[in-house]
């Protein structure tokens, strides 16, 4: 079955207007360059509206959205339970001179839900959370250095970026020690060299960097890291901003069987409402209270009400396991469809937020062609980043995705006969 190819002329027209008044046209990670829209004309640039697992672009095309706004869409866009809770709070007040009652209710819910949480502290973005966690580690230990993992993404603050990037100075990153993923020996060497000055170790629950197969922790990796952190007075921080609630509602750390000191959450906690949090252990409560860290909108009540409703819905649905199962059904189907056309599709990471790559070349060109052909027909895939499942994804969405993927694989195979499996 052949699926119609979308036109996205209105997106391009609006983008040209945007270029005159917005740096890069669409600043940040949603821009066509940062989003790896390759070729750009295969992709829409602007969304008009959303519902459940879909967005509609401004040309009126509907897409099954596997980016889920890069993670926040966890229950389906405009989930009625979440929207009702947000609306009820909005009636009472959102950004106020004092926090709402809901701030306490959300903190209690997080403490009850996340295994290591004895307290919660709220902010707006993942970057706010990771930067706060790093400040807390320094405040609690009186040390300077932070261990982080090569290729790990913790936001956009200068300390999270690489020296030499525009606007990033050597001083900004001077206290970072960058280690390979899954390398306990490298951590031991870093402790031997800098041990008395290492404040914290920050990493995502597994290696979900872009442009590369994602890697789960090796057997015993996290347990050994935990042991070394404890023995050397180093604060262990898990950046659960991307994985959070898609592996385990009690925290991705519990999924992998270890207990960090701090955990950062953002994307999935309020189904698209803007809020993030750091949760931590009792021993770091004082440090959390003493670090001065705040913002104009950080106590806004509507996102907190949305977060309460989101977490309760995820509990009711057993959301993490539901998304893992849906992801498994989808990715199994994608692998089979690729194989039918002589292509090898490798799936890595957790199925609820899988990374996929056609391995018949090492340049990602086949992967880029595949994602473009899918997107042109209504399945929104990007080639560089892991994708996301949300709980509203239906069996029919998966079936339609697999049909379109089959057509896209067929096109890619037809264009690249020399690359196919024999």
């Amino acid at each position: 079955m052949s699926h119609p190819v979308y036109k996205t002329d209105k997106s391009l027209e609006l983008f040209k207007r945007a270029l005159k008044v917005l740096p890069a046209g669409i600043p940040g990670h949603l821009g066509p360059v940062e989003s790896q829209f390759i070729p750009t004309r295969a992709f829409p640039f602007y969304a008009d509206r959303v519902k459940d697992s879909y967005f509609w672009d401004i040309d009126g095309n509907r897409y099954i959205d596997y980016m889920c706004a890069y993670g926040p869409n966890v229950l389906g866009y405009n989930n009625p339970v979440v929207e009702a809770a947000a609306a009820a709070q909005r009636e009472k007040g959102d950004c106020m001179a004092l926090p709402g009652r809901v701030q306490v209710e959300l903190a209690e819910l997080l403490v009850d839900t996340i295994e290591i949480a004895d307290w919660a502290y709220f902010m707006k973005n993942g970057n706010d959370a990771t930067s706060f966690a790093v400040m807390m580690a320094r405040a609690a230990t009186g040390r300077n250095k932070i261990i982080r993992i090569e290729g790990g993404y913790h936001g956009v603050a200068a300390w999270t970026q690489a020296a030499g990037r525009p606007g990033v100075t050597d001083a900004d990153v001077g206290h970072n020690i960058i280690l390979p993923w899954n390398d306990v020996a490298a951590f031991e060497r870093a402790i031997a060299e800098h041990g008395s000055d290492i404040a914290g170790f920050i990493a995502t629950p597994y290696d979900h960097r872009i442009f590369a197969d994602n890697q789960l922790p090796a057997e015993g990796y996290w347990q050994k890291i935990r042991q070394l952190c404890t023995a050397n007075g180093i604060v262990l921080i898990v950046d659960d901003v991307r994985c959070g609630f898609r592996l385990d509602l009690a925290g991705s750390a519990r999924y992998f069987g270890f207990k960090p000191d701090l955990a950062c959450y953002c994307k999935a906690i309020a189904n698209g409402y803007n809020i993030s949090t750091v949760v931590g252990i009792e021993a770091l409560r004082t440090a959390a209270a003493h670090v001065f860290y705040t913002g104009s909108y950080w106590s806004a009540a509507v996102p907190m009400a949305a977060a309460v409703a989101t977490i309760k819905e995820l509990q009711r649905l057993d959301g993490a396991n539901l998304m893992l199962a849906k992801g498994k059904a989808l990715t199994d189907g994608l692998v089979s469809a690729a194989a039918r056309h002589g292509l090898d599709l490798k799936i890595s990471g957790a199925e609820s937020m899988w990374y996929m790559r056609i391995t018949n070349d090492d340049s990602l060109m086949l992967q880029q062609e595949f994602c473009a052909e899918c997107t042109k027909r209504g399945v929104f895939f990007v080639s560089h980043h892991n994708h996301f499942i949300n709980t509203s994804l239906t069996d029919d969405d998966i079936r339609q995705t697999l049909e379109i993927a089959d057509e896209a694989f067929s096109i890619v195979a037809g264009r690249n006969p020399q690359r196919l499996n024999k």
Partner: protein, 251 residues
């Protein structure tokens, strides 16, 4: 701050290397090539060493020491760079009998090169001269990029992050440059690779010229398809900061 030694390498292996192109593609330049073979060695104290081989119909810029009819010495990279800017003279160390060629036809050849790399309106209006100008500009930028990536401190830092492979830079209906990355070191050759790991493709010479002159920004060009990138994007992503430096070095 520009590294003068890197700038000298850009001037030699990015800018003056285009004399090769002039000899091959610019009929008017033929009159300024020597009637019998001539090799000019540029010996820059504390900087690069290169030899420009000129024949009646061909030119080659070679890195390193090669047999030379004429040797031009420079006290420092700064001295060489001032010479390129027309603000200093070289020290002739050998081949004084060919001095008349250097001050005469060779000077006209380099003037012609400058005319293509800093084109006036008349050059831009003439389709054939525009093509030569745009192609030489692309070559100057790409070969200078390699020098900056290998020599400039900031460039080296970016180059260290470039994954191994071939980046193919190409212009529709025009020329291509293969940039090879190996262990954080770059090299470049003219032409096309059968199996590049990443592609940076300009849809037309006009698009390439507009992007290099700053008339067209890359975000617009990528959105409209005037510029296309494909393949292993971390290669291009880490080359971009070096490209920014090219603009600094060659302005």
């Amino acid at each position: 701050m520009l590294d003068q030694s890197v700038l000298a390498r850009c001037n030699l292996f990015g800018v003056l290397k285009n004399i090769e192109y002039l000899a091959e593609h610019d009929p008017e330049s033929a009159a300024f090539l020597p009637e019998r073979p001539l090799s000019i060695r540029f010996a820059v104290h504390g900087g690069p060493l290169a030899t420009l081989r000129l024949n009646p119909a061909k030119a080659d810029m070679l890195a390193g020491r090669h047999p030379a009819t004429v040797v031009l010495g420079f006290a420092s990279p700064e001295h060489f760079n001032r010479m390129v800017s027309g603000k200093a003279n070289p020290i002739p160390l050998k081949g004084l009998h060919r001095l008349a060629y250097l001050t005469g036809p060779f000077g006209k050849l380099t003037k012609r090169l400058e005319g293509y790399l800093r084109p006036d309106e008349a050059t831009l209006r003439d389709p054939e001269r525009f093509r030569r100008s745009a192609e030489m500009t692309l070559y100057a930028a790409m070969f200078s990029l390699v020098e900056i990536a290998n020599g400039d401190p900031q460039g080296r830092r970016s180059a260290a992050r470039i994954p191994d492979g071939v980046l193919q830079v190409s212009v529709a209906g025009s020329v291509g440059v293969r940039i090879v990355a190996r262990g954080g070191q770059l090299s470049a050759t003219k032409g096309y690779d059968p199996d590049p790991r990443a592609l940076l493709h300009f849809a037309s010479l006009q698009a390439a010229a507009d992007i290099f002159s700053g008339k067209l920004d890359t975000y617009t060009a990528l959105a409209t398809g005037d510029l296309e990138m494909r393949g292993y994007i971390p290669m291009i992503d880490n080359i971009n900061p070096v490209l920014d430096l090219v603009a600094e070095y060659l302005k």
